[in-house]
Amino acid sequence: MTGLRHLIRLILRRDRVLLPLWVLILAALPAVYAASFAELTPTEEARELYARTTAGIPSIEAMLGPVYGHSVEALATQRAGLTLLIVALINVLVVIRHTRTEEDAGRRELVAATVVGRHAPLAAALVVAVGADLVMGLLTAAFMGFSGGSLLLGLSLAFAGIVFAAVGAVAAQLTENAGPARGLALAVLGVAYLVRAAGDATGSNLSWASPLAWSQYTKPFAGDDWRPLLASFGLTAVLAGLAGWLSVRRDVGGGLLPTRLGPAGSTSLTGPFALAWRLQRGLLIGWSVGFLVFGLAFGGAVSGATEAFTGNPELAELFARLGGGVSLTDTFIATLLGIAAIAAAAYGIQAASRMRAEEAAMRAEPVLATGTARAPWALGHVVFAVVGPIVALFMIGAGLGLTYGADVGDLGQVPRLIGAALAQAPAAATLTGLTVALFGLLPRLSGVAWGILAICLLLGQVGALLQLSQVVLDLSPFTHTPRVPGGEVSALPLAVLALVAGALTAAGLWGFRRRDVGV
């Protein structure tokens, strides 16, 4: 463990902006949710009704996790179910960023050749991740007003992160490159989420198989139970130990999963589009399959919502009024598709960012030094960044339609929900367009697109709760997407969004043809 202290300081120095930022934002979210519940459901009766008719129905429990009480804090805790997912996601990314990415780039070698213990680099990444999680947990408790419940909520959130930091650490040992390691760890996270969702939707014990559920079964503010965190702690210890054990049993730079030989030549790589397909197909397949699986899983959970109404016409009528004539299932699906739109935009940004990544890694240069002009080279990637999210949205619509349609015996839901999903595409495309525009005009600021997406996400998630003015909310393209299915669709906002996306993309391509490459 020699050199651990220095390595920790190196990580803190490199992440000095990002780390405090995510710790603070995530720690603040539960308190923001609590404040909004206090505002929106000020009375005991209102909260009780909300817990019974909205928070407690299977589809919402599948998405967020179970609700255990109807105090402001208990409702906020359930709402923080997605925060839990984000914490886990960030931990995976942080740990892999400071372990496998470093090795991949050859920087680990530079460090390993100095006086640094074999375990130190991995330990340093884990110490920083766990430390940040604990600070985030304490801050969460502080923002919620220190109490047994708030401390437990904070620690539960922290442990969701800690467990997945350890998952990331194991994944980083298995593959030779950072990309596959991230994919592996995120796949584990995806499965954990789906298992918890399926378990909570059906009210079965299946959820216990998911570490994400342990952080929710602590029931903060509703009978505080610290024991599930023992399981989290145990799993973390096992995984961290496994990662450490694996890390000394392999070469620096090597992985445990074998790398295979490729073909000796190629007849299919005929031009810039063929190259873009090779570089983009993994993303396209991954996102499409992921969206389809989520669609199928949640489509099955939706009908649980309607069951809550059978034999309760009073409630059904209440909801018909609340939703402005829109059925509860439609409201639920529309909410889900709103989240899918953000995810699709993230995919669009990721696919469009490939251009900048290729340029920064100096892989664009040799291609552009051949007979390939800049426009076709860029267009190859742009096509995937534009069409890819549309395909993914189509898949989630089809998935939702299939299982939900099968449940209610109406396969007419398939085209209806595909249409609703595709209505999200123009808003997502504006973010793709923004990324292309940044790439072409301000290449060094390409990363800003992610920041804009985060702001859109925050505006969508807490904007209405914080009662921000409509002018501010209108800044996000997602505000302009009609709430479908169920809501009224007008073509104008969709057309305007598509136009903005097209203009941004064109501006980016125009700029790229005129600027220096490799800056």
Binding site: E176, N177, G179, T259, R260, L261, G262, P263, A264, G265, S266, T267, L269, T270, G271, P272, A274, L275, R278, L279, G282, A361, M362, R363, E365, P366, V367, L368, A369, T370, G371, T372, A373, R514, D516, V517, G518, V519
Partner: protein, 293 residues
């Protein structure tokens, strides 16, 4: 077309850095031209301007009779480029990259491809991430050398190659020259330049400081002389770095002043004399050191 590359008065700034400061470069068709200069002197920037990847602030550049920025795509079909630091796609095999780059240039000769793979001892089935630096360099070299083009632009192509492979590279470039191709070879390796290049240009701080054939350049070098004289001399006109130690003198003299200096020495009576012939290395060191100052 007499000149494959004709660059004059090229300027390029990046923020406050003046990367090219009125650079001139002439490469005649059919010659192997050495492009030398210390790290950061502007070699790669010049090459990127020639490839139409960067737009020069001012000055003129002609490549194969065309404008490197406006006619980039058409010109690129007639040239092949090997960057100094080759990065490959981690999930594409070496063979796939060779075929891709060859095809993007308008096709490559399969026989030549197979022959080059053999000569460079390269396994084309490995994935990009699995290659060492030298092997990545070989992938780019095979792709370039197997293409049927008029001009090869090679930016420090042998960095990372072992001496055996460096030899193979030299053979290949010599063959390219015989078959009438033009080569712009940026390099730090003197032996490589001496063996391959017809003419060289040395640049420093974005400016051309010397240009000509190696014989021309040799004239610019100095001969080192140490002598034991019958009568001590304290000054010798026109020499550099004179050290006097009793009757012994050591100094360097420009080659064109050698005759005058020797007359001066024999007048004082020469007991013994050793002279070291001029080397290109000294010339280069002189220019390289100038950059450090």
């Amino acid at each position: 077309m007499e000149n494959a590359i004709l660059v004059s008065g090229l300027h390029k700034t990046f923020g406050r850095t003046h990367a090219l400061n009125g650079l001139d470069l002439t490469v005649r068709t059919g010659e192997v031209h050495g492009f030398l200069g210390p790290n950061g002197s502007g070699k790669s920037t010049t090459i990127r301007v020639l490839l139409g990847l960067l737009r020069a602030d001012s000055g003129s550049a002609r490549l194969l009779g065309g404008d490197p920025w406006k006619d980039a795509t058409a010109l690129h079909r007639r040239l092949a480029y090997v960057p100094g630091d080759v990065t490959l796609w981690p999930n594409l095999s070496g063979g796939e990259v060779i075929d891709l780059l060859g095809r993007l240039r308008g096709g490559l000769n399969p026989k030549r491809r197979a022959e080059l793979l053999e000569r460079f001892d390269l396994d084309p089935r490995k994935k990009g991430r699995a290659y060492s630096k030298g092997n990545r360099q070989k992938v780019a070299l095979v792709a370039a050398l197997a293409s049927d083009v008029e001009l090869l632009i090679l930016d420090e192509p042998t960095s990372g190659l072992d001496p055996l492979m460096e030899e193979v590279f030299r053979e290949c470039v010599a063959e390219e020259k015989t078959s009438g191709r033009t080569v712009l070879l940026s390099s730090h390796i003197l032996a490589e330049v001496e063996q391959l290049c017809d003419r060289v240009s040395i640049i420093r701080n974005g400016q051309t400081v010397e240009s000509g054939t190696l014989t021309d350049l040799r004239h610019l070098t100095r001969t080192s002389i140490s002598a034991d004289l019958a009568t001590p001399l304290t000054t010798i006109p026109g020499v550099h770095d004179l050290v006097v130690d009793g009757t012994r003198v050591r100094f360097e003299v420009d080659t064109d002043r050698l005759d005058d200096t020797l007359k001066h020495l024999t007048a004082a009576g020469v007991r013994s004399l050793t002279s070291q012939p001029p080397t290109l290395e000294e010339l280069f060191m002189r220019h390289y050191q100038g950059a450090a100052r």
